[in-house]
Symmetry: C2
Subunit: 324 residues, 2 copies
């Protein structure tokens, strides 16, 4: 049995908890939280400890599944945890991955531990598709679309505007763009062509809605480069939408082997629960990290480094006989 | 530069030739054929040798890309070639893969060589999808559909019937089945529910068409379990269809993380040229085999064993920065 620790119990921690519980080759040593452990009621009856108690579990946990956020939790905490434990995380700030990788590689090598970083569906499953597709069809174009689904970062950005009580933002791929790619037209797509942003905003009493709408639509990086729809709704309506954490997306590779012959490769995900699926991916890579560490591997790995067989509880013989 | 030999020059050999020519990190030492080398006119101006001359290239070729068929060529020849060379092949007789694997593993280990077997799109890219999807969504069902595309084996089977001059057979996925899977219904699909078989048959003068149609439709393993459509056409019409080697298909994983939350993962390929795309996949795995062999790896590997980074000419840093 692979002994797993779960660090953090938000939406992702809950998803990981369910996935570890469903894995017949894993047992959960504990959920480790920054909150008062008695205040956490996990979806599965795993023991809950304060994260400050983690140290005494050194040597008793094969891999920690880190369920903190990429903005502050992971950059702040992963290196410290990696001194004593193997880790898997879902670091997803694409631009900062090389820096994050380097900072952890040093710690892992010094301590003989192993970290799998940027695991989930993007980065993660989508990265596998981008890499594989590009390697087997070198002459071509990549297209990644996200949604329909909630962008937590964009929802947060709206909530920081004065007069906004609550908000949720959906990223929606544009059908015209998807259809042009699927038809093999290899379109040159600008940011605005690919995705639409739809916002549902609850405001404080007496707030200036048209000023807020203007502020959202002109926000640099987040909304200015997109077609953005702003809907004003009640806080109760936003809260209902916040219950549903569905997401998904598409990775395409469209290219040619000769002038005459074109090919289209497509991966798509339709997810009812983003955190439950991400938690399930993290758990599969937890299995891989535990096994690779047992074989003596240390350092930092991504989805590009891990042979896929390590993700499955099936034996190599079974995989070759049934899935090849 | 990776030094490549291409063994066999049929449709697949031609596809590999084009792919090797397009790879900036590869050079082709030669195409090796069983025919008279002067009778082979390759798509790219690579030297052509008799396969009997291969032996003298030992030590000068990093990897052989084997372009023979799975029925007789590969089972007969791969083990012999593997004594002196690293190899990549597209062995696709699913039921015989474990036996093929074992027979080669012994030779490779004894000679310190490396073979990648069953490389292409199915087995190959589709196997990656089946394995990855199952590992990240353990509770669910797998569905693989092929087509629309030509099945060489089924076309051959028709041509063996007395009175048949020429024939081509298309495997076509049934829309009702695809739609039921895409809608997340997790249908229980029988062989007949998934694919339709459409045949275009040219007969000898005076042949009994209705007897031939009956023979095709009742042929065990090949057609009896399917809805089969038989069209009688001229030999010239069959020959035109035989020019177009398009194919494709779909891999789905449909499952749940909890009772409430379902997920659908889908990979699809739309290929204008089956042999050109298969050749391109073989070439990417040729890169991987050459690199892994250089690192000292020997034995037999499949797509489940090879870390994806080995397929790409990009550096690990570039992959992390641009594709993760």
């Amino acid at each position: 049995m692979i002994k797993v620790g779960i660090v953090g119990y938000g939406n992702l921690g809950r998803g990981v908890t369910l996935a570890v519980n469903a894995a017949s080759d894993m047992e959960c040593v504990g959920i480790f939280t920054r909150r008062d452990p008695s205040s956490v009621c996990p979806a599965v009856n795993f023991p809950v400890y304060s994260v400050s108690e983690l140290e005494r579990f050194k040597g008793q946990i094969d891999v920690l599944l880190l369920c903190g956020g990429s903005a502050t939790d992971l950059p702040k905490n992963t290196a410290g945890l990696l001194k004593d434990f193997n880790t898997v995380d879902s670091f997803d700030t694409h631009a900062k991955i090389p820096e994050y990788y380097s900072s952890l590689e040093k710690v892992a090598k010094e301590n003989g531990t192993l970290a799998a970083i940027s695991i989930g569906w993007d980065p993660g499953v989508f990265s596998i598709a981008r890499m594989l597709f590009g390697a087997v069809l070198p002459q071509g174009n990549d297209y990644t679309f996200w949604g329909k689904g909630v962008s937590q970062g964009h929802s947060d950005a709206i909530r920081r505007i004065a007069g906004v009580k609550n908000a949720i933002q959906y990223t929606i791929p544009k059908d015209e763009a998807l259809n042009a790619v699927r038809a093999g037209h290899n379109p040159d797509l600008k940011t605005r062509d690919k995705h639409l942003r739809e916002c549902f905003v609850a405001v404080e009493d007496g707030a200036d809605k048209s000023a807020i709408e203007q502020q959202i639509k002109s926000m640099p990086n987040y909304f200015a480069d997109y077609d953005t729809i702003v809907n004003f709704v009640s806080d109760a309506e936003v809260k209902v939408m916040q219950q549903k954490l569905s997401h998904g997306g598409f990775v395409f590779r469209s290219g040619n082997t000769t002038d005459k012959n074109a090919h289209l490769l497509e991966l798509s995900l339709k997810l009812d629960s983003n955190p439950e699926f991400t938690g399930s991916v993290l758990t599969a890579y937890g299995r891989a990290v535990a096994r690779l560490a047992k074989e003596g591997k240390s350092g930092v790995v991504t989805v590009f480094d891990v042979p896929l067989k390590y993700l499955s509880p099936m034996s190599e013989e079974e995989l070759r006989a049934h899935l090849l």
